[in-house]
């Protein structure tokens, strides 16, 4: 075989066959549909607008977005940043009327390393007292009761208290009023909760 013929053969073997082209364009088409669907679904999900068409699209894609873990919102510090400092403490009252006070980790009181490890509590305690998350409160009480379980003096009641101080521009933090307590959950716990 001459060098020229060999080159020609090589070139023709590299050239995609008609079947290959067809399957490639089919797979490209399928991928394009996949891309387009995700671009539309993700954009409609994330944009901070609310009108009928958008609500319709969101409703349509919602089961998939939630199933696949593609739900997302990018609203950190917005529309306005939080304008108060807050922390949560819990009081566990036992059947013999003893009180245990348990404080959720406060980032400002932790060491540098601990702040890294405990940061999830920052996010958790930020959203926990919101009324829309009231369904979580009995579980928090159960967890706290379980932490203080005792054969002789089991937990009887749990209170969750949020302490809040407003951030006021122009006021020195040293002069800021002390934190206002707000009991946002209070209930008895059942013995089966801390077994």
């Amino acid at each position: 075989m001459t060098k020229k013929n060999q080159q020609k053969n090589n070139a023709s073997s590299k050239r995609p066959k008609a079947g290959d082209l067809e399957s490639r364009s089919l797979s490209r088409g399928a991928i394009s549909i996949f891309i387009l669907f995700h671009l539309v679904a993700i954009t409609c999900w994330a944009i901070p607008l609310d009108f009928a068409v958008l609500r319709g699209v969101r409703e349509l894609v919602s089961p998939y977005m939630r199933w696949a873990g593609l739900f997302q919102s990018w609203d950190t510090f917005s529309p306005n940043p939080k304008q108060d400092n807050s922390y949560i403490k819990a009081v566990v009252i036992t059947q013999n009327h003893h009180m245990h006070v348990w404080a959720f980790p406060r980032m400002e009181q932790l060491s540098f390393g601990e702040r890294y490890r405990k940061e999830k509590y920052r996010k958790f305690t930020e959203v926990l007292p919101e009324q829309k998350n009231a369904a979580l409160w009995p579980d928090i009480a159960k967890h706290l009761a379980w932490q203080f379980k005792s054969q002789t003096d089991p937990p009887d009641k749990v209170l969750l208290i949020q302490f809040q101080t407003d951030i006021k521009p122009g006021i020195d933090e040293a002069d800021a009023p002390s934190a206002k307590p707000n009991i946002f959950y209070e209930d008895y716990v059942q013995p089966e909760n801390f077994k």
């Binding site: 993700i42 089961p63 529309p79 306005n80 304008q83 996010k123 951030i167």
Partner: protein, 306 residues
């Protein structure tokens, strides 16, 4: 633009083969971020996900109904299984970082990551959400096509040549889209708030005790600087969402973004958030520039070893 041109542009953007070096580098950075996130959770793993966790699995499924990709719903509710899940997750995150069984590892990491977030949605910050959503698209990317043990094995077995083969970048584009969307939607949300428009937002942010890290110099707290900072944040987030797609502006914006996130890392305690986002910056670097950089490093290493 007629349909044919649109089709061509779409095809070019998503399917013109390009070097997989950016996505491979992203895979490594992403793997490190996921590993670090998992390690940081270790001390409270059972408090978040265990049988006696803060929020029970049944409550979580009640408040967030519907079918979810959540391995916790499949595994026995036993703390030993849940503790083992931590090590399995970390193991796959390390495998993904080094690029061994890359495709399988990327699927496993995404499943584990989405599972822990579905198990407790109330502890995830924006960085965690970003890792989750881009992890989905990483599954489809040729993330093991460079800088991976998988490739090393393939080259040793003679299945691949020394040259890295270009691949269609559509999955990389989706991750780029997610990054741009993160910035643009953040900008949009902030535009709805009075404090951002008036320039007072940063005052509140720097006075939040729960996220304060290192002390800020006094001049930063001057009202003029805080106003400028609030407005700069708006301008920056808009630019990263929209102007990043223009080649000429890309590198200055990436540099600005790097400085922006490093300053946030100094000032605020939101562990991993800045690194999670910065990891995706590498996807906006021209593959040719990365290729050139890689060749230079490679040549220097070869010269030193010979």
């Amino acid at each position: 633009m007629n349909l044919q041109r649109l089709h061509k542009a779409w095809d070019h953007f998503f399917f013109t083969p390009q070097s997989p070096i950016p996505i491979a580098l992203f895979r490594i950075l992403y793997g490190i971020c996921v590993s670090a996130t998992v390690i940081l959770l270790h001390s409270d793993w059972l408090d978040w996900f265990g049988v006696h966790s803060w929020i029970s699995l049944s409550t979580m499924t009640a408040v967030e109904p519907g079918i979810r990709l959540n391995l916790f719903t499949l595994m026995p509710q036993d703390d030993r299984w849940i503790a083992a899940f931590f090590w399995i997750f970390l193991g796959f995150a390390v495998l993904l970082t080094i690029g061994l069984w890359t495709r399988v590892s990327s699927v496993a990491v995404f499943l584990c990551l989405t599972s822990i977030q579905q198990r407790n949605l109330f502890m995830a910050h924006g960085g965690d959400t970003f890792l989750r959503v881009v992890g989905f698209f990483l599954i489809f990317a040729p993330a093991g096509a460079a800088f991976s043990l998988d490739r090393l094995i393939r080259v040793r077995r003679g299945l691949e040549g020394p040259e890295i083969t270009p691949r269609a970048p559509w999955a990389q584009r989706m991750i780029q889209f997610e990054l741009a969307l993160l910035y643009f939607i953040s900008f949009w949300w902030k535009m709805k708030g009075d404090t951002w428009l008036h320039g007072t937002a940063l005052y509140y942010v720097i006075h939040l005790h729960s996220i304060a890290r290192f002390p800020l110099p006094g001049w930063v707290q001057h009202p003029v600087i805080l106003k400028a900072g609030s407005w700069f944040t708006l301008a920056f987030e808009f630019s990263m969402g929209v102007l990043i797609w223009f080649r000429r502006l890309r590198y200055p914006l990436l540099l600005l973004g790097l400085l922006f996130h490093l300053s946030l890392e100094y000032a605020f305690n939101i562990p991993m958030f800045q690194w999670d986002v910065l990891a995706a910056y590498v996807l906006f670097i021209d593959p040719n520039d990365l290729d050139r950089l890689w060749r230079t490093i490679h040549q220097r290493l070869m010269r030193r070893t010979s």
